[in-house]
Subunit: 366 residues, 2 copies
C-alpha cells in the first residue's frame, strides 16, 4: 500500500533523511490559529522554535503575523536578521548574555521594534534595566502549575516584588502540563491558566498583559478568553504527540522525515531505515513508538499505526509490523525507497540538522 508514496518521493531526488514540510497543511494550521486569535482580539505571537526556518517564517508573515516568540538569543538574532522586529525571548534571562541581549534590543529598537525579555526575580528585572535600559519589554515568568520555572502564580509577595523592581509589560506562562492532560480537560486547563494569571496580576497591583502559549490548550479551545496574547508553536507542524492528545487530525500533520530503506525482512516483519535518534529524536510514545510510517498519496490512512518505528539508535530506525501484514503494507517496497515517518515530537525533529524540503501540498495531494 506504500508503493505510490515511494514513487512520489522517488521523484523528489532525495538520497538521505530529509525533513518534508507540507506547505499547504502548514499554512492552513497557521491560518486557523491566526483566525482564532483575531476573532478573540488577542495578539498572536507564535513560537518559532518548532520550525526555526526563515522561509516558513514568511508563511506566518503572509498570514498577518508581526510578532513572534523565540527560545534563545541565537534564535532571536536569526529571526532579527530575517526582518522580524517584534520578538519575545520566552526563556528566563541568562545574566551572562545581558550584553548581547542589550545589543540586539537596541538594534531592534532602532528600527521601531523590540526584544521582550523574561524574568522571575527582582534582581534579574533590575539587572535587565541596569544593562539594557527601558528598551526591552519585561515579562514576569509565572508558573501556573507546570512546575518548570517562573514565580508560582499564588506567591503574591514575590510577584509584587518583581513587578515593583522595574517597569513590566506583562505576565507570561507556559502551561506545559497540558501535554499530560486528557483532551476533554484541555479547555478547562486553558481557563484555569488564565484565571491563575489574573490572580497573579492582582497580586502585583499593576495593569499587566497576560500571555499564554502551548499548542494543546490553544488548539483545544474554541476561543481565547481571559488573556491578551497567545504563543503556541508546535501547531505549525503538529506531530504524533498532539495526535495522541487528540488536538489535531491526521490531515493537519505537516512535517515528516523521508527515510531511506536500507533493509527489509518480511519473515520478521521488519524494515530498517536510515532514520535514527539524530533525525527523529529519542522522544517516544508508549510502546515505545518513535514515529509512524505513513502515506503521501491521499488514499486511505495517512499515518499507519500498523507501521511504528519501535526501536531507534543513532542513525538506524527499526519499523515493525505483524509478519502476516508485511506483504500488504511493505510488499512492493525495495531497499533504496524512501518512506515518510511522522515524528513523535516535531520540535526536536526540526532541531536536527536535517536538509529540509518545502513541498506545496505534497503530503496531501495526489
Amino acid at each position: 500500500m506504500l508503493r505510490a508514496t515511494c514513487d512520489r518521493l522517488d521523484r523528489l531526488g532525495l538520497d538521505r533523511p530529509t525533513l518534508l514540510v507540507d506547505e499547504t497543511r502548514a499554512r492552513a494550521n497557521i491560518a486557523r490559529m491566526a483566525a482564532k486569535a483575531a476573532a478573540a482580539g488577542v495578539r498572536f505571537r507564535p513560537h518559532f522554535k518548532t520550525h526555526r526556518n526563515a522561509a516558513i517564517g514568511r508563511w506566518f508573515a503572509e498570514a498577518g503575523v508581526t510578532a513572534i516568540t523565540v527560545s534563545s538569543l541565537d534564535m532571536a538574532a536569526h529571526f532579527a536578521d530575517h526582518d522580524w522586529d517584534d520578538l519575545t525571548l520566552a526563556f528566563l534571562v541568562n545574566p551572562r548574555q545581558l550584553p548581547r541581549l542589550g545589543d540586539l534590543a537596541w538594534r531592534l529598537a532602532d528600527r521601531g521594534g523590540s526584544l521582550g525579555l523574561t524574568v522571575d526575580t527582582p534582581e534579574a528585572a533590575r539587572a535587565v534595566r541596569h544593562v539594557i535600559g527601558d528598551t526591552a519589554p519585561l515579562w514576569i515568568k509565572v508558573d501556573t502549575g507546570y512546575g518548570r520555572s517562573g514565580v508560582p502564580w499564588d506567591d503574591g509577595p514575590r510577584l509584587k516584588a518583581v513587578a515593583e523592581s522595574a517597569v513590566c509589560t506583562g505576565l507570561l506562562t507556559h502551561a506545559g502540563h497540558s501535554y499530560h492532560t486528557a483532551r476533554e480537560d484541555l479547555p478547562e486547563l486553558f481557563s484555569e491558566t488564565a484565571r491563575r494569571l489574573a490572580t497573579a496580576r492582582e497580586a502585583t497591583g499593576r495593569d499587566l498583559l497576560l500571555s499564554v502559549g502551548d499548542t494543546p490548550t490553544c488548539s483545544a479551545v474554541d476561543s481565547f478568553t481571559g488573556v491578551d496574547e497567545v504563543r503556541p508553536g508546535n501547531f505549525v507542524y503538529f506531530d504524533l504527540m498532539q495526535r495522541a492528545l487528540g488536538v489535531c487530525r491526521d490531515d493537519d500533520l505537516a512535517a515528516c522525515v523521508a527515510c531511506p530503506v536500507v533493509a527489509l525482512d518480511a519473515a520478521r516483519g521488519r524494515v530498517v531505515l536510515h532514520g535514527g535518534a539524530v533525525h527523529l529524536s529519542k522522544e517516544q510514545l508508549p510502546g515505545p513508538v518513535y514515529g509512524l510510517v505513513g502515506r503521501l498519496d491521499g488514499e486511505g490512512p495517512r499515518v499507519l499505526d500498523a507501521a511504528p518505528v519501535v526501536d531507534i539508535s543513532q542513525e538506524h530506525g527499526i519499523v515493525r509490523t505483524a509478519p502476516a501484514r508485511f506483504a500488504e503494507v511493505f510488499g512492493r517496497i525495495r531497499t533504496g525507497d524512501l518512506l515518510p515517518v511522522w515524528p513523535v515530537h516535531s520540535c526536536l525533529t526540526g532541531e536536527a540538522a536535517l536538509p529540509t524540503r518545502l513541498l506545496a501540498g505534497a503530503t496531501s495531494e495526489a
Copy 2:
C-alpha cells in the same frame, strides 16, 4: 561545593550551552584503546560518529590511527575532506547513494585510500560492484545477536550467497546488545561475538576478515582475541551510560555540556538550566536521569549523583537535589553561572549543533 567549578568555567567566557571536551582525558582514552589493539595485533578503526570533529580526529592521527569508521556518506565526505583516506561506512548501503558513494570511493582510491562499504544481500553486493567497480572493500554486515540489521550469523546459505555474489573483504558486526549486558558478562559477549563471526566465515567458505565494534565489550576485555579489527567509538568521551555499565571510571569521562543556570529554588531543591533535549538529547537512565551535574575542580566526586537532571524539555533542564542538601551542593551558585552536566549518551550530545570548546585538561586539573 560547586563554586570552584563555576569560577573555572567563568574564566572561559561562555554565555550559552557549550560542549566541553577534555583533551587530556580524551587522548588518554584514545591511547589506551590504541595500545590494546596494538598489543593484540588487530587493526584499530575507531568510529568517528561520536565526536564528528576534525580537530579531535587529529588526536587519533597523532595516536597512530590511520583507518576510521563513519556512519553516513556525509560524515565520510567530511573526514575525507580532512585528509582521512581509509574509511569504512559501517551502515548498510543505501542504493540511492551509489553514485555519490562511487564518486567518493574513486576520489579516495586516487590518493591510495579506500571507502569500505557494507551490504547484507547479494543484490546490494552486486549493485555496489556494478556501479562502483572493485574499488570499494565490501563488508558483509552480520547480526551476531543484537537484532538490528545484517545477515543472521547462523544463516549459512545467505552468508554464502552474499560472499559468492562479489569479492568481499570481511564480516562486520556491531554487538549493540552489549549496552544491555552486565559488566561481568561483557568479556564473554566479546568472545561469543568473535565465535559467531568465525562460524559465519566458515559458512562463506572464504578467508574473510572479522571486524567488531562497540565500546562496552571493547572496554571490558583485556585483549582483542579472535578478530582482525575493532571499531569502538564512544570510548573517546565515554558517558553516563558507559559509567552505569561499569566500563569507564569517572576520571575517563571526557565530554560535558556547560549549561547556564537560569533559576535556583532552594526550597524545592531545584536548579533550572539552559540545557535541554536539543543539547543533551532525550536519552535517559532509569530515574529518569538525563545527565548529572559534576565538578571540574579536581576535588571530591567529579560526577554528582546527588545532582541529576531529572526533567528535560526542548531548551530547559531541571536539576533536583534533596532540599536538605541544596545549600551544601548549590549554596554559592548564582543565576548566570555555568554548571557542567555529564550527558547520558555522548554520541547524541555530540550530534547537537553545540559550540564546542577543547580544553587541555580542564576537567581533570585544578
